[in-house]
């Protein structure tokens, strides 16, 4: 027999009690909040200056979860809880990387790899919001365009209400979606705020509304025979001499024009 088996086989009770006591430790208090934040069950938030005034922004491990105007931190917490039902904790400022990205986005950067937490939205609402995200700064598109682009051409009203639920206005530019008749239309923060934000992005809101009132929906270029939405960057560089207004897709097609491949006023056929 091996010599080690000469010892008693059963370890002594005192030794086992000592081992057992190694299990009597308290986990550091930082574990719970860190875990909840990392899995997106609790959001951090802080005050943020935006072009529409002071607001509050919340985020978690999935990305930015909300940007809202509120009277106070307590007011924001109330709104957030009513909408998302998740606990919040206030932090003095955004993490550096996130802060830089949000600042760049709010000051007009076209691309920012900002993660967004849209878990609470339905698949349709997510599609609408992600589509709105593709509209470049300084340009607008009609509700019907969004509906067609996401493959539900009849759901124009549903697009409107999905945009109305945008949990992070400005970051997701729902203000760049306007009515087909050229009116700016509804906005979570009020129609005036919508016009102000568009104007700040370089859209001539008065001209846009005036143009629509006169019946013009598209601009074509008689040299390229391509027509665009009037705010499309390709429409804006057509000189007045070559600019042809159209009131409908059919009129443009009848005149032998094809839709722009960038702003896609109609599916290219």
């Amino acid at each position: 027999m091996d010599s080690s088996y000469a010892r008693p086989l059963k370890p002594s009770g005192e030794f086992l009690r000592q081992l057992r006591r190694l299990g009597d430790v308290a986990a550091p208090a930082s574990i719970l909040p860190t875990v909840l934040e990392r899995v997106g069950l609790v959001d951090s938030y802080t005050a943020l200056d935006t072009p529409i005034g002071p607001a509050f922004m919340a985020y978690n491990d999935h990305g930015v979860s909300a940007l809202m105007r509120a009277l106070s931190a307590a007011d924001f917490e109330r709104q957030f809880r009513r909408r998302f039902g998740r606990p919040l904790r206030q932090v003095p400022e955004l993490p550096t990387r996130l802060r830089h990205m949000v600042q760049r986005l709010l000051s007009g950067a076209r691309h920012a790899a900002l993660h967004l937490d849209l878990r609470r939205m339905s698949e349709f609402e997510r599609a609408v919001l992600l589509k709105a995200l593709q509209i470049p700064r300084g340009e607008v598109r009609p509700y019907a365009w969004v509906a067609r682009e996401i493959g539900s051409p009849k759901a124009v009203r549903a697009v409107g209400s999905a945009l109305g639920k945008n949990p992070m206005p400005l970051l997701i530019p729902c203000h760049r979606v306007v009515r087909s008749d050229g009116q700016a239309g509804a906005y979570a923060l009020g129609p005036e705020a919508k016009r102000a934000v568009l104007a700040a992005e370089g859209v001539d809101v008065e001209e846009m509304e005036e143009l629509a009132r006169s019946g013009t929906r598209y601009y074509g270029s008689d040299s390229t025979r391509v027509y665009c939405f009037p705010t499309c960057r390709h429409a804006r560089r057509i000189t007045a001499r070559h600019r042809v207004p159209f009131s409908s897709v059919e009129a443009a097609a009848a005149a032998g024009y094809r839709p722009c491949l960038v702003c896609r006023p109609a599916r290219a056929s």
Binding site: S4, R7, L9, P11, F15, L16, Q18, L19, R20, R21, L22, G23, D24, V25, A26, A27, P28, S30, I31, L32, T34, V35, L36, R38, V39, L41, R86
Partner: protein, 203 residues
């Protein structure tokens, strides 16, 4: 029993009941990770990673599977996997044997019933035993910690380790023997030290 209730809550609404799971298991899992690594910082990271992984896995499980889940072995298994992955990444993580040098390292019990000197003695004992456990070869360390520190039964351990019960019993046994051998050897050294010191004082 309590475990079953929690699984039922997880099946019903994961997001609102997950916090309860963290609250209920954070001390257990942290103790597990602490005794596997012997290092509080690693233990905290392992515990956090384990819960995050658990949550992400739970999200993908259908409600019926969440309901049938045996949380205790399952969470231990995840923590163990996190630990093993880290071990693989940093294979040579050496644990110093004398961790009791600084008083700050000692885990003093806050219990008022325990006399301070007794508490200190226990803390010293814990610290040296902690180092001894952390110095065991991983195979034995995991077995000993699961069985005697965490108090899992052999059947649960078989679920965690995916090993036959006979193998696990052998590893626990060998682990305890190794521990005792080293502990006894150390005790003799410290004793002779004490005697030496005592003799010096007399002179």
């Amino acid at each position: 029993m309590h475990d079953q209730k929690m699984s039922a809550a997880l099946a019903a609404d994961l997001d609102s009941s997950f916090e309860q799971v963290v609250l209920a298991y954070q001390h257990r899992l942290y103790a597990f990770a602490l005794r596997l690594t012997g290092n509080p910082q690693d233990a905290e990271e392992i515990t956090q990673d384990a819960f995050v992984r658990a949550y992400r896995a739970l999200r993908t499980y259908p409600a019926s599977r969440r309901h049938a889940l045996a949380l205790r072995p399952w969470l231990h298994q995840i923590a163990l996997n996190v630990f093993r992955n880290r071990l693989r990444r940093r294979p040579l993580h050496l644990v110093p044997l004398d961790q009791g040098d600084e008083a700050g390292d000692l885990e003093l019990e806050g219990d008022k019933e325990v006399q301070p000197d007794v508490a200190l003695e226990r803390a010293e004992l814990n610290a040296s035993l902690n180092a001894l456990v952390a110095a065991l070869p991983p195979r034995y360390r995991v077995a000993v910690v699961l069985r005697y520190v965490q108090g899992l039964g052999y059947r649960e351990m078989a679920a965690v380790l995916k090993q036959p019960i006979g193998t696990i019993k052998a590893n626990v046994h060998r682990g305890i023997h190794l521990l005792r051998e080293v502990a006894d050897a150390q005790e003799q050294i410290t004793c002779s030290h004490a005697q030496l010191n005592a003799r010096r004082r007399i002179r």
